[in-house]
Amino acid sequence: MDRDKRSKLIEGSRTPAYKKVRRVAPGESPVTPVEQTPDPELGHAVIPKERYTSADFMRLEWERLWTKVWLLGGCEQDLREPGDFICTDIGRESVLIVRQRDGALRAFYNVCQHRGNRLRPEGTGSTESFKCQYHHWDYDLDGSFRRIPDLDTFPQGAPPCDGIAQLPCEAWGGFVWFSLDRGIGPLADYLAPVNAHLEPYHFHKMALTRDVTVEWDCNWKASVDAFNESYHVQGIHPQLMWYLHDLDIQIDTYGRHNRYLIPFGTLSPRVRKPNTIPDPIKVIMKAAGMDPADYDGPIENIRRDVQRWKRAHGAAQGKDYSRLNDDQLTDDYHYLIFPNVTLNTHADDLMLFRQRPHPTDPDRMYYDIWTFELVPDGKEWPERPRHQHFVHGDKSIGLVLDQDSQNLPGVQKGMHSAGFRGLWLGAQELRIRHFHKVIDDYVYGPGGRPEGAP
């Protein structure tokens, strides 16, 4: 590129100047730390595209990552009574998580010890026992054999394992977690410090309002990446520029996990200030109980005024915000719990994404959307929504997520192109770089990724 063209490119591509939003000071946050963590030194190298498409890399991920981490299994609200269970698939495996008669939780491989049949399809339910539909081998809630029809015709007796194999299982934050690594340490150690950050949101008081699984034609990491930066807002979510600040983003990394803090209820510096309150910001005001038609202040004060309003009226609305800081009342505290749980945390709701790899195909994945809403004290807990499962494109999942999902199959196709080297990431995409560094740590160990490896 000649000098003139290069200088034109630089001049025409500058980030708009902006005034930083006001954020709470560390002393103003009762529980969740707000101190910015130092940016890790992760260099500027291209992220290899092959890790999105290679069956070999997918196998390495399975052996060294998926089977070595804690994984989100489901919601504790689906496991209130003894016999309540969740059946969830991960890769080629399937796992049963079961509330025991003594109130404990146990997880098992979802597989009959007789001929290998799955005991249950994916989903939630309540049962007295797990009876295989093939020959009616029956397992108790604790996984032990309950009845083996015609056991006397097996000269070798029952399998010596005593039942289905148990897996580590723990609850945290209203969610149940399991691991395919029987030697894994405690869940709390794995989640730290993010578990402490999220404690004041009271997830256990939030009811599941949406439970959707969409099959996407992309690698699971392309989907994680898509939610780990706000740089794409100006690209595929233009409407959000009248809703959030997409440039004044605080990025923090914590060991294997990371987060960013996005100011909501404010304008992007990429758009001009309109004369009337943008509809997306009205939604935030109305949710807080404010009447946008009654708001006389300038748009730039709305975020602060919504915070004040919620602080003043939360208790009367049956919402306990006492352990949240002011920014948490409006903003998106957006966490990635490695490897595949994305939490858009807000004072009154939670939008959770879980990205799961396809059992065999690196070009496909399952994208789970669970949304939760805070149930105000004294209000009735809503009925659980039915689980929906469909292929991308069959149904809308809402404007913003449709915009994301329409984009991803194109991204995945590009990963296969000879004309593409790999991900060229900027500073706004630091979380993506961090995520891939943690993947490298799992897949390649302390030596790091060998030169030329995916």
Partner: protein, 253 residues
């Protein structure tokens, strides 16, 4: 054609951006001396500086037209500072919205009452002018169904009725009163720019309804305002002039 606006004293409300700003610029270009207001002090100061840099004779003030007393005081002070008032263009609007009943109060107080209060406060000066003219900014939303049954639409309709009847009432004093109903007008920082970003489908549908496929500009609206405000339009009073690039479909014969 010389519009005859040279040396005329004009007052425009809500004039730091968009249509209001373009009206001031057009009137200044025609040689009028203009007083204008907006809510933000900074934006008024910016507009005054920019207009003066172009050689315009302007004065600006920061006032919330919803505050009747402050608004009246500003109008009177501005007319005194200009040495009278020949042209009044009430342009401020609360805009659309269906959030609550408050939208009705807001559009009533801002769109309707600010226009009425302004006409009453300035009427003596307009009468003294001998060529007084009021151009009330309404909207095509008043005359055809648009989007939703918003207070904005109904209050803009009230302004057309008011303009007609006021024109009859003050005609004998050689004050002309007209309404101007622009169709969708696009400008940077305007409502349609935001709608384009936040509701692309609605934006596209609106654009498709305009036969030549383009929104109006503030400058185009301002030229109609300048004409209606000028002695050149001496025969036109009590009219509602639709300037919408064919956006409305009704036939009014």
């Amino acid at each position: 054609m010389d519009l005859g606006l040279r040396g005329k004293k004009a007052i425009v409300t809500g004039a730091t951006k968009g249509i209001g700003r373009a009206i001031v610029e057009q009137l200044v270009a025609e040689g009028a001396e203009v007083g204008f207001c907006a809510r933000s002090e900074d934006e008024v100061a910016e507009a005054v500086t920019a207009l003066k840099a172009k050689g315009g004779h302007v004065i600006g003030g920061a006032v919330n037209v919803r505050d009747g007393e402050a608004y009246k005081a500003w109008l009177e002070a501005t007319a005194r500072a200009l040495g009278g008032c020949d042209v009044f263009v009430p342009n401020v609007s609360a805009g659309g919205g269906m959030d609550s009943e408050k939208n009705w109060w807001k559009n009533f107080e801002i769109d309707v009452l600010h226009t009425v209060r302004g006409c009453e406060a300035l009427m003596e000066d307009l009468k003294k002018s001998g060529q007084g003219a009021v151009v009330i900014i309404s909207s095509t939303n008043a005359i055809e169904t648009f989007a939703a049954p918003m207070a904005y639409n109904a209050m803009k309709a009230a302004l057309i009725t008011y303009a007609k009847q006021l024109s009859q009432f003050v005609g004998k004093h050689n004050v002309r009163v007209n309404a101007l109903s622009p169709g969708p007008v696009y400008f940077e920082g305007g409502a349609w720019e935001m709608i384009k970003g936040t509701n692309q489908k609605f934006y596209d549908a609106t654009l498709r309804a305009i036969p030549c496929g383009r929104f109006g500009t503030p400058e185009e609206v301002a030229r109609v305002v300048a004409f209606l405000a000028s002695p050149a339009a001496s025969l036109i009073t009590g009219a509602n002039v639709v300037a919408d690039n064919g956006f409305t479909k009704g036939v009014r014969y």
